[in-house]
């Protein structure tokens, strides 16, 4: 490099330039080293990404853990209110939270639905029995809601353990593909975790949840009318009445405790009693909306509108086929978190719309003198008998 000589500015310039002369080889060397890192160590960028993802996962996992602890301590607190004080509640709760049911072998699927039903029934009964044993002070309806509460605690605990599993597995094996998958799911999982947290408060206090809209609509359909009410299956009641000349059997789980009942068993019993007089089954249930759809929108369709593990759906479809009874479905759109958190206004308002639409379906599809079954599906926490 050459510099014009003489002026004072040039001197300064030279000084800087001189320093640059010293600095540039160092920078160049650093650059080369940096590039060599990528050449000699091709996984470098991946390692960098992995550690970044792991840090992100760790933070979310920590939040998840906090939600789980919160739900767990609220559950213990609530159970304690109804217990006798001498039981080790935390230990007993952990036992329930970690309990599991083994699904039947599906290598030969013949008759699997009834096997599954058998196993799930035992599991649910054991769960409920345990809660009753722990909380002798809770009356019938409250015990059912407490069972739901323990199920919520179990749900969030399981979610936490699964996420932790993938985090630790990915970390131990330094496998970016494992951590990537769980990281991609994390936003939705965190949303579900938050919903569990809200659900815990709802069940603690016995507030109606979004999932209960089917039962609420069934209750509103018969509200204030003269009817005969009796239990038709476990935790399931039926209101028998005459409306516009048609015999109406309105079925729902018994409230205001948290229960979903056994709608299929109820429907089967009614059909076996009524026989060919049943001309339609109308099912009302909350259903998962697609993103962008309005919560509380009521949509009509055909089929057995019922969620769960599929046992009830199977049994209802089977009996409907046997007697050749059409199945009409009315569903109320809501998101997964809206289903387990306190009921929103738009969902509660949808119940009134459902009542009108059920009445229209009955008028359209069932002639006078015949029978129709209306089944309101959903958890009846906070929804009493009308």
């Amino acid at each position: 490099m050459s510099f014009p000589s003489g002026a004072a500015e040039t001197l300064t310039l030279m000084q800087i330039a001189g320093r640059e002369d010293l600095l540039s080889p160092i920078i160049q060397l650093l650059w080369i080293l940096f590039l060599m890192l990528f050449i000699l160590y091709p996984n470098f960028s991946q390692k960098l990404q992995l550690s970044y993802i792991l840090r992100d996962l760790e933070r979310k996992l920590y939040n998840l853990k906090r939600i789980r602890e919160e739900v767990r301590s609220r559950t213990v607190e609530t159970l304690r209110k109804y217990s006798e004080g001498n039981t080790d509640l935390e230990r007993e709760l952990d036992k329930m939270i970690l309990s599991f049911a083994i699904t039947p072998e599906s290598m030969d699927p013949y008759g699997i639905v009834y096997k599954l039903e058998h196993i799930v029934n035992i599991w649910e009964d054991t769960f409920e029995e345990n809660v009753r044993r722990l909380c002798p002070k809770a009356e019938e309806e409250k015990a059912k809601t407490l069972t739901n509460l323990v199920e919520v605690a179990r749900g969030i605990d399981y979610l936490y353990r699964v996420v932790r599993h993938y985090y630790l597995l990915g970390k131990r094996t330094a496998n970016i593909y494992i951590v990537l998958q769980i990281q991609m799911l994390m936003p939705q999982l965190m949303e579900i975790a938050e919903a569990y947290r809200q659900a815990c408060y709802a069940f603690m206090q016995g507030q109606p949840v979004g999932d209960g809209v089917g039962a609420l609509a069934a209750a509103k359909l018969v509200e204030g009318l003269e009817k005969k009410t009796y239990e038709v299956a476990k935790d399931t009641i039926v209101h028998e009445l005459v409306m516009d000349g048609r015999n109406l059997f309105v079925l729902r789980a018994v409230g205001p405790g948290g229960a979903v009942g056994k709608p299929a068993d109820g429907i089967i019993k009614i059909i076996e009693k009524e026989g060919d007089r049943v001309k339609a089954i109308v099912m009302v249930d909350a259903a998962l909306k697609l993103e962008g759809e309005d919560t509380g929108k009521v949509v009509e369709g055909i089929g057995a509108a019922i969620g769960g593990i599929g046992v009830d759906k199977f049994k209802i479809e089977e009996i409907a086929k046997k007697y050749n009874i059409p199945l009409y479905a009315l569903i109320i759109y809501e998101s997964i978190s809206e289903a387990i958190t306190p009921m929103r206004e738009s969902i509660a308002k949808a119940a009134d719309e459902v009542v009108e639409r059920v009445k229209n379906i009955i008028k359209d599809k069932v002639e006078e003198g015949f029978s129709v079954i209306v089944a309101g599906i959903g958890n009846t926490v906070g929804i009493g008998l009308s």
Binding site: N63, Q198, Y201, A202, Q205, G206, Q207, P208, L216, A219, E223, G255, P256, G292, T341, P342, M343, R344, E345, S346, I347, A348, G382, I383, G384, L385, S386
Partner: protein
């Protein structure tokens, strides 16, 4: 997020009560033990009757639907 800000996010539903005397509907925050179709002994602010029926329990949503609808696809 601090625990205090998280607490605030808990959805607190309102209980809507209909007076059995004058049929006026009024609301108050949910209390444990409330359930839809249940009857409670509470004073009606309008006629002074003391029996009310719970007609609804839900979380009130903010009324900004119209503006929101225009923006959604």
């Amino acid at each position: 997020m601090l625990p205090s800000s998280r607490e605030k996010q808990i959805l607190n539903p309102l209980t809507f009560l209909r007076c059995l005397g004058c049929s006026t509907i009024n609301s108050r925050p949910f209390k444990e033990g409330d359930y839809v179709f249940g009857e409670v002994e509470e004073k009606c602010p309008k006629c002074g009757g003391d029996r009310m029926k719970i007609v609804g329990i839900y979380v009130k949503e903010p009324e900004q639907r119209e503006g929101k609808k225009q923006k959604t696809l």
